[in-house]
């Protein structure tokens, strides 16, 4: 489209020198609107329904009744937590695409505590164990590729990606022992009668503790990134590891330390999912959220408020898509298509935040 031909460019792209926040938001809003229009056009094309009905269906799916609102809040909180967890690693330009695996390992440990620890201790203590050990499990899963990156410069993108599937097989292995009823190849709802290891009701809602935990972690990470020496060090490493070495930052240590934090938060997200909402474990416990969160973190430029807004928007569209799928007799994978289209538009928008069109031939920008 904007391939610049040598002779006479029809239009050129010019880097914006100063982008105000409102300009940037404006570009992104236009992208969101465009993506909604395209999605509506596609859904209408397939189902023959009017786009207004489709969007009313989406809103109904996300906010239609108190239960749906709570599910939307719960899913937003989890997605935000994972995105927050990924932030320190991405700031360091460490491409941790292994959040799926880190979530699964955290979830696995939580499920193990729920199964083996029930009725041996009070629920409060059990929850403390669940939270600490799930974070530890995610940390271990995250720190292994970091150690290899630090000492051997092993490609972390591919390493963390592979670890996702190792984690999945470990889950499958555990399911063999935990399956209930026997032969179903699923774990079923753990402790559905005693509710041992379940997050208790808090702030008047089933998922109050989920929200509270996520808020605490988000605030802590924001402070860590913006106000602490370690947060500063990791962004220096991200900008240029040579500069970091020059100012005597121990790059290896920073890489390992940052991935320990990142992995631990993703592991904690596993506990929030397993103990706090699904109360079961399967290979789809992470459900692609580790990947979606990457886009959320990247698109929000690591700003926590933006992350909250973007997470909420994605969850809104996904919950809505599930609703319109049942309402109009499509299958639930429609939500992935919609998410994909919105992603393309919002990703593309980031370019237009940085560059602007200039038609005609060379003039001064």
């Amino acid at each position: 489209m904007n391939e610049t031909s040598v002779k006479q460019p029809l239009f050129r792209m010019i880097k914006r020198d100063d982008v105000t926040k409102s300009q940037a938001m404006c570009v992104r809003l236009i992208a969101v609107l465009l993506s909604l229009i395209v999605c509506a056009a596609i859904i209408t094309g397939i189902t023959g329904e009017s786009p207004v009905n489709v969007y009313l269906g989406i809103i109904n799916g996300a906010f239609g009744n108190p239960n749906r609102i709570w599910v939307t809040i719960r899913e937003t909180a989890v997605l935000l937590l994972i995105a927050v967890g990924l932030t320190p690693a991405f700031r360091m330009k460490f491409w941790n695409i292994g959040a799926e695996g880190q979530i699964l390992m955290g979830g696995l440990v939580s499920a193990a505590w729920m199964i083996y620890g029930a009725e041996k201790m009070p629920n409060g203590i059990l929850l403390v164990f669940i939270i600490i050990s799930s974070a530890a499990a995610g940390m271990i899963w995250g720190v292994v590729p970091a150690v290899f990156k630090a000492y051997m410069n092993t490609n972390e993108t591919l390493f963390t990606l592979m670890l996702n599937y190792v984690a999945m097989q470990i889950i499958n292995y555990a399911i063999v022992f935990w399956e209930k009823p026997a032969g179903s190849n699923t774990v079923g709802i753990i402790n559905s009668a005693s509710k041992a290891g379940w997050f208790p009701k808090l702030l008047g809602g089933t998922y109050g503790l989920n929200v509270l935990l996520v808020l605490i972690v988000t605030i802590l990470v924001t402070i860590y990134m913006r106000r602490s020496r370690q947060g500063f060090e990791l962004s220096v490493v991200g900008e240029s590891s040579r500069t970091a070495e020059y100012v005597k930052i121990d790059v290896k240590r920073v890489i390992i330390r940052t991935m320990m934090i990142s992995g631990a938060i993703c592991g904690l997200a596993g506990a929030v999912i397993v103990s706090g909402s699904s109360h079961t474990i399967s290979t789809s416990t992470a459900g692609g959220r580790g990947f979606t969160a990457i886009v959320v973190a990247w698109m929000s430029q690591f700003n926590p408020i933006a992350m909250l807004v973007v997470s909420a928007f994605f969850v809104f569209m996904q919950q809505g898509a599930i609703q319109i799928a049942t309402q109009f007799g499509l299958n639930e994978n429609a939500s992935d298509i919609i998410t994909g289209i919105i992603l393309f538009f919002m990703i593309g928008a980031e370019y237009f935040v940085q560059y602007k069109f200039r038609f005609g031939r060379k003039k001064e920008a």
């Binding site: 489209m1 904007n2 391939e3 880097k15 397939i46 491409w95 695409i97 290899f148 051997m152 410069n153 092993t154 490609n155 993108t157 591919l158 390493f159 990606l161 592979m162 670890l163 996702n164 599937y165 190792v166 999945m168 097989q169 470990i170 499958n172 292995y173 399911i175 063999v176 022992f177 692609g288 990947f291 979606t292 990457i294 886009v295 990247w298 698109m299 007799g329 499509l330 299958n331 994978n333 429609a334 939500s335 992935d336 298509i337 998410t339 994909g340 289209i341 992603l343 393309f344 990703i347 593309g348 980031e350 370019y351």
Partner: protein, 326 residues
């Protein structure tokens, strides 16, 4: 003996889809693009080929297998080229982060495949389960005499046409990359786009063409899986994690298509090994399925450890190129 032959046949059956995916991805990565959207592109190729064949067979009384074959191949190529174009446009023209775009493309592609796979028959007016027997017969047809020859025929000539296409494609790609001028230019673009640009190579053009063509090759892997392996039907998420295995195979193959041929066979064998090892408990079988990924991780570590120059990933892998940013 016959158990070994069946094992080899099954392993090859698993290998072909992965080989297509890896060959395409190698071509893409050689141009400096780390396309994590390949799993999605393979889903898109698979479902589009199936849809093409499905609509063709529903539109005529007596579908000709060969025509169905052509229609499905064309549909798969077009769909995966579109996937590649989306990726190229966003990463090359708009210079957006490649990992982010790739993962989004995978989300989109897998959703695309499952959505249409799950609802195509309903959208087409409720004909029930999709089945394209006639077209699938063109894919599963083997060479009449040769495939019956004991041992040699059973091991080497027992497969449909796509199996041989996958091997030939890998060989051609290998020849292209390492024995032609254009291939040299392509590798230069992947190693150091700035240098290639200075030498008068159009970085944009090479990246675009490599990514789109590579995606088309990968898409054939999805087509093979749906048409030959599943025999012309669709099961949601049936393709599973083979797309990621293809990405993993690129590492095992050290970015050389020839290595991908035996590598894909190794992966295919590891993928189904658990069925053939006697006396494994269910739990041990699950651990056995971990092997392809563990092997990839080990290879990844060894290559970074050995530090041999020709076995490294392309130096420009994952970096967007913008002339004015040098």
């Amino acid at each position: 003996m016959s158990a070994i032959i069946i094992f080899i046949q099954q392993a090859v059956g698993q290998a072909v889809a992965i080989l297509f995916g890896a060959s395409g991805e190698i071509l893409i990565e050689r141009s400096g693009n780390l396309n994590l959207g390949i799993p999605g592109v393979m889903y898109m190729g698979g479902i589009s080929g199936l849809m093409g064949a499905f609509f063709y067979e529903n539109s005529t009384e007596n579908p000709v297998p060969f025509v169905g074959f052509l229609v499905s191949v064309m549909a798969a190529l077009i769909a995966s080229a579109i996937g590649g174009l989306i990726y190229s446009f966003l990463t090359i023209s708009l210079r957006v982060n490649q990992n982010v775009v790739g993962l989004s493309l995978t989300t989109f592609g897998v959703g695309f495949g499952n959505f249409f796979g799950g609802s195509i028959s309903k959208l087409a007016g409720g004909v029930g389960q999709i089945s394209v027997k006639s077209t699938a017969s063109a894919y599963t047809a083997t060479i009449p005499g040769l495939s019956k020859v004991p041992v040699i025929g059973e091991i080497f000539f027992h497969y449909g046409v796509m199996t041989y296409v996958s091997v030939i494609a890998a060989l051609i790609l290998s020849w292209f990359m390492f024995h032609t001028r254009t291939g040299l230019n392509l590798r230069a673009v992947g190693e150091s786009p700035a240098t290639a640009d200075a030498a008068g190579i159009s970085v944009m053009k090479y990246k675009y063409v490599a990514t789109v063509v590579g995606s088309m090759i990968s898409g054939l892997g999805g087509l093979y899986f749906v048409m030959e392996y599943l025999g012309g039907t669709w099961t949601n998420n049936g393709f599973g994690d083979r797309g990621w295995l293809a990405v993993a195979l690129v590492i095992l193959a050290l970015w050389k298509p020839v290595n991908a041929i035996w590598g894909s066979f190794l992966f295919g064998a590891l993928y189904i090994l658990y069925i053939y090892v006697p006396g494994l408990s269910r739990g041990q079988q699950e651990l056995c399925k971990m092997l392809p990924y563990v092997v990839t991780i080990i290879v990844l570590i060894i290559t970074s450890f050995r530090n041999k120059l020709e076995n490294q990933p392309p130096a420009g892998l994952g970096q967007a190129y913008f002339r004015e940013n040098r």
